[in-house]
Point group: C2
Chain length 135, copies 2
């Protein structure tokens, strides 16, 4: 079969992942991403696999994992299959922290909702029938 695997320039990769080109280079520089493939010109070419990994890393970042911890996780990936238990442990710990973060945010969500209702009551409005009037 002809291996015309689609490849992406850094700008295309940036658009597909929502991570800026600057940041993609930065991630590579700090060893978070392995050196990616290059065109003969020296320009970076991202594969689907690269994109998938970047999306996974984005998922970790947006859930609050520090860059250092992500670097550690990537080091485990590079070290081979015998680190899979360690990777599971790292992800499970992170998921645990995320669970607590979600619980906290939900409590704060309630508090904010209560404050809104309190203010609405002060205005003599009924919370559920409030219609935003134009000023």
């Amino acid at each position: 079969m002809s291996d015309v695997e689609p490849q992406y320039t850094i700008e295309e990769a940036a658009q597909r992942t929502g991570v800026s080109a600057h940041t993609l280079r930065y991630y590579e520089r700090i060893g978070l991403l392995d050196p990616v493939g290059r065109a003969p010109s020296g320009h970076r070419r991202y594969t689907e696999g690269d994109i998938g990994l970047i999306e996974f890393l984005t998922c970790l970042r947006q859930t609050g994992m520090p860059i250092r911890a992500m670097q550690h996780f990537m080091a485990l990936m590079r070290a081979g299959d015998h680190t899979i238990p360690d990777r599971i442990e790292a992800l499970a710990a992170h998921r645990e922290a995320l669970t607590e973060q979600l619980a906290l945010l939900r409590r704060h969500f309630e508090a904010i909702t209560n404050k809104i209702e309190y203010y609405r009551a002060l205005l003599g409005e009924h919370p559920d029938e409030l219609i935003r009037s134009g000023h």
Copy 2:
């Protein structure tokens, strides 16, 4: 009635709110908190009302509201009751952002969970009967 309203030193306030004394002074300096009462010696004394406000601000901070936006909200509070609609609007907008943040985090939570299960499958383990063995 004797007004012996309980007051707290800055360290006590820090312990009750989980915000460091350094940060409490910082918040006051940048006008996020109004100047708090003082003992004759010049030391700060926090009332229950102060504590409550700090807790509310903590709630906004921990849900990702920038300091600038919190300063704006406090300015509305100082400006009087006619700003209540604006305060409602600010809080409602923040709650909307928080809703989206929660949705994103839940999606990421799922992705992380899937990754964990994937790794566990690689180890030939059954996800729900995994028992953490000592190493």
